[in-house]
């Protein structure tokens, strides 16, 4: 009886540590084709998708370079911290300068909507990909 009383808390701690150790770095992906205007949203992380939703995607061209604006809204009452990265691809689907596109921080206040902007640094870019992930899960 005494043994089982000790085993249960120990098992809970072990499960907690195991879950905390498993980093889920998946997130929400928004792909936009700037030639056709087609935009797809894929939510890979259910917890993130429960708190953050992509509400709109617009794109244009300024000074000969493509630009994308993506609006994200919080469904939570609390302040949320997420990371996002906008990468660009050429007509062959090759990523352009992947090293130069970084994960940026975004603080979303409760039930607030924020528009993030990405600019292609090459005229060869034809499509963009936004990837959002939870900050706490980032290494």
């Amino acid at each position: 009886m005494k043994l089982s009383r000790n085993i249960i808390p120990a098992a809970i701690v072990m499960i907690g540590l195991t879950v905390a150790g498993c980093k889920n770095t998946s997130g929400t992906i928004v792909k936009t084709d700037h030639e056709t205007g087609e935009s797809t949203i894929a939510a890979e992380n259910a917890r993130l998708a429960h708190h953050v939703v992509v509400t709109s995607t617009t794109y244009d061209e300024v000074n000969g370079v493509k630009r994308v604006n993506i609006t994200m809204a919080s469904k939570s009452n609390k302040r949320l911290r997420v990371d996002y990265r906008i990468s660009w691809f050429d007509a062959n689907g090759m990523e352009l300068d992947p090293q130069t596109k970084t994960y940026r921080n975004l603080i979303l206040e409760g039930h607030d909507a924020v528009t993030v902007t990405g600019v292609a640094n090459s005229p060869a870019a034809v499509s963009s990909k936004l990837r959002v992930r939870e900050t706490e899960q980032a290494e």
């Binding site: 000074n63 000969g64 970084t102 940026r104 902007t117 900050t135 290494e139």
Partner: protein, 200 residues
């Protein structure tokens, strides 16, 4: 009993040996903030944001409409108490702008060797070491249209165990012909840290 002691010693020995080994692994370039100091990801994000802002600036439009202006990037000034490799930051901005294909670049500020190189070639030419027809002549270099420069400043407030650190990157693009500022932007970073009550 002896068997148990032997097993325990074996486990302890293995644990100690494993603990002694230095662990090295490759990590993503963008990590979460670890200190209030300026970190690699802060520099990378600032460079990316500045380049994006410059590429879509309305003031730049009239300069890049019909031609590719010639730019030079002056090393940014570091007005903080920290050591930050500003030349590296300047080089990152230049390479990203060069990839955009909107500008042409000369490199006078970072190396400053153009005049020395031509002087050396002239000396070699006089000695008859270089084919006179192929030798680079003075006065053939592209003239500068604009230059890009900037600065980094900080405000640090320490209040008890709490440290509040604020950084500001400012950049300007100046037209040399008219002296006008074509573009200017700022990027701000604010970090906060709190020391634990017991710290050693």
């Amino acid at each position: 009993m002896k068997k148990l002691a032997f097993t325990l010693c074996l486990v302890c020995g293995a644990t100690l040996l494993t603990g002694c080994a230095t662990k090295v692994k490759e990590v993503p370039l963008d990590r979460t903030t670890a200190t209030t100091k300026l970190e690699a990801q802060d520099i990378r994000r600032t460079v990316e944001k500045m380049v994006e802002s410059l590429l879509v600036a309305p003031g730049v439009k009239e300069y890049v409409k019909d031609r590719r202006p010639v730019l030079d990037v002056e090393p940014m000034q570091n007005r903080t108490a920290q050591h930050v490799d500003m030349l590296s930051l300047t080089e990152s901005i230049r390479s990203q702008l060069l990839r955009s294909g909107m500008f042409r670049f000369v490199d006078r500020s970072s190396t400053g060797t153009a005049a020395n190189d031509i002087e050396r070639i002239n000396q070699e030419n006089q000695l008859g070491l270089v084919d006179a027809a192929k030798a680079v002549k003075a006065g053939k270099q592209t003239a500068l249209d604009m230059y890009l420069t900037g600065s980094l400043s900080e405000i640090k407030i320490v209040e008890g165990r709490k440290t509040d650190q604020y950084y500001k990157f400012s950049m300007i693009l100046k037209d040399l012909k008219t002296g006008e500022l074509v573009w200017t932007d700022e990027q701000e970073i604010r970090k906060e840290s709190k020391k634990p009550v017991i710290n050693w």
